[in-house]
Symmetry: C2
Subunit: 383 residues, 2 copies
């Protein structure tokens, strides 16, 4: 059996994602479609609208055969680290190829990544201004600048893939969906951006939502407790009001002095949006500030995140019979630990950061995120 | 002018307290009645039902001339430290005498305190089992054991007073109120215990409440947001779920290993009462556990509490013209700093623990506890 891999967030899974899952299989003729998916906290530093179990099930219902959770210490990170974590997991699972969406799949990402491969060491280091640094280097070496989010991420997949002893085949494809930044759902369209889908769901605009998401996603969005940053704002504010500033300075991605600014703004801000808006300055992007806010909420320190990144693992959220067969095939030569169920030891050690991230997420929807959970076992139901 | 001092919590101020205030003045014929009062967090490790400003105003409306806040690093402590903090403030204000309620005012507290004065060093050290230790020593030296809460506190006032270069005159009096432990309000009684008053207020049993509290207290209880531990439970749970156990082990009064137990119980507990009940063992009293929970909620470490205890201060919450005249009289020779208004420097340094404690309290009632607040200036309104 051969496998194709995808690196995803599915926040939530919409028709564009479903199309992408099918394309990945058809393009590669793979026997198994593996999805690495962010858990409850996402790359843009925000909670997922639906929890990881709901989203994993949706993935299995719409074309995935095996869903692996990307740990929180890779999901809430800049693009190069997010990409590194995902590529590492797909490679560990012996995927032959990786398919991903890009705004400009025609770009020669391989050449671009190779051109600055030697210089990557200087800015793959944990840093907020990675995009700026790497674009400056890329511009100098190749004359190309990447500005679109998925082009940038594609580049990072190539860069991460190049460092592998046995690189996988990378296949960027054009995303079948509205522009990533479009926040409205066009009439008569079956495709909308994730932002537009989330806005429609939170506004309970079911008529607009229904045409652009699979039926299972529609059901989940209409029946589950949808989560967003404003749900966690009371906890974040409380945390920033009580934590010692020397301690908050150790939170992941907290730049020098930002902890003082955050603690000062937490005194008076009344909502999460208000807070982020007050903290915002030219120096930091909203995404960066949201990631720092996530680290503060989860009390993730830079030290523990960096330590954890050196100990990646395969946490199984679900599989179809095909996914199970594939897992069985590769299981004996896996270079990373495989976890299918949490226990006391994993909760306190190897999986402790994911457990903490899930336990905080659970404060709002009340659904256990780790304890007592077992991987989904789904029949193939691709329509 | 001569002053008499009281050490209080007024949670909330009821007829027994009002009687006590009058008795204190009449007994000593003092020109000024000074009240040292706990702020928003109390000796039993719980939030006050009304905030410190409301309670300070009630004190001024019912016989006090000057209200000073006992800092949080003395209020949420075992009796001997609570007493030490209060006595230190009254002595700093040059009080001639201190009046306090005891279950057995006829006891010779002076003799008892003197009898074990030499041994106090061995158990005045920060310790949960202070009561047990000191009673064992007291029993051995004098044959007396103190079991009633206010007898014990009275003893602590004597012990703290003895260490002063110029001890004040101490006057224990019989409390004019129902038994401290009684939780119901007797028909036709003008007196009830604090517990009974709080229960009636929280149950909105206004008919039972009205006869046992002054009119101003009744108004406050019927119009303000009453606070209790359950209001803060979501924050405490969140905190215990995210904090590193090595960090929580540093919280004030956290005994060895208790941090693990608290973090484990926080996983599943659904209410504060449920949580404390699950954590409870023979080794710890409920009061002790509530104090530790308060320290965890406020992220108060043992190190910062002990450091702060060595730097007590006089924070003025309000005064009458008499109180103001008295303050003017003693102001030049005060051995402790006098603070009437918070500023940026005080908020971040000298008053930082009280500021933090108040800011967390404020999360529920939305009333600023420090910023923009000025001491009350009340006319004398003793009825």
């Amino acid at each position: 059996m051969q496998a194709v891999g995808l690196i995803t967030e599915y926040n939530p899974l919409h028709n564009g994602h479903r199309y992408h899952l099918r394309q990945a299989q058809q393009l590669t003729n793979a026997d198994c479609v593996i999805v690495v998916m962010s858990g409850d906290w996402l790359q843009r530093g925000e909670p997922a609208i639906l929890d990881k179990w709901t989203r994993a099930k949706l993935a299995l219902e719409n074309g995935a055969d095996l869903v692996i959770e990307l740990p929180v210490f890779f999901t809430t990170q800049p693009a190069h680290l997010f990409a590194r974590g995902g590529i590492e997991l797909l490679s560990a699972l012996d995927c032959t190829s990786v398919v991903f969406g890009a705004e400009h799949p025609e770009l020669d990402f391989q050449r671009l990544a190779t051109a600055i491969a030697a210089r990557q060491g200087s800015f793959t280091h944990y840093n907020a201004t990675f995009a700026t640094q790497f674009n400056a280097a890329l511009q100098a070496a190749t004359g190309v600048t990447l500005t679109a989010a998925n082009d940038m991420l594609s580049f990072c997949y190539y860069a991460a893939n190049q460092t592998l002893a046995h690189p996988m085949q990378l296949l960027p494809i054009k995303r079948r969906q509205a522009d990533h930044a479009t926040t409205t759902i066009a009439a008569d369209s079956r495709y909308a951006s994730g932002t537009a889908v989330r806005q429609a769901a939170l506004a309970q605009d079911w008529a607009a939502l229904k045409p652009v998401v699979p039926a299972d996603t529609f059901t989940a969005l209409t029946t589950q407790r949808l989560q967003r940053w404003s749900d966690f704002w009371p906890f974040l504010q409380y945390q920033l009001l009580t934590v010692d500033v020397a301690r908050s300075g150790q939170y992941d991605q907290m730049a020098e002095g930002l902890e003082y600014r955050m603690q000062a703004m937490a005194q008076h801000a009344t909502t999460f949006d208000d807070f982020i808006h007050q903290v915002k300055s030219k120096r930091y992007t909203y995404t960066r500030l949201q990631r720092v806010a996530t680290a503060a909420l989860l009390q993730l320190t830079q030290a523990e995140v960096q330590k954890a990144q050196a100990h990646n693992y395969l946490r199984v959220l679900g599989f179809t019979p095909k996914g199970q067969a594939y897992l069985h095939q590769v299981k004996k030569q896996l270079p990373l630990p495989l976890y299918t169920k949490i226990n006391q030891d994993l909760r306190q050690h190897a999986l402790n950061l994911d457990y903490r991230a899930g336990r905080v997420y659970q404060l709002i929807n009340g659904q256990s995120q780790d304890l007592y959970r077992q991987p989904w076992r789904l029949p193939v139901t691709i329509g």
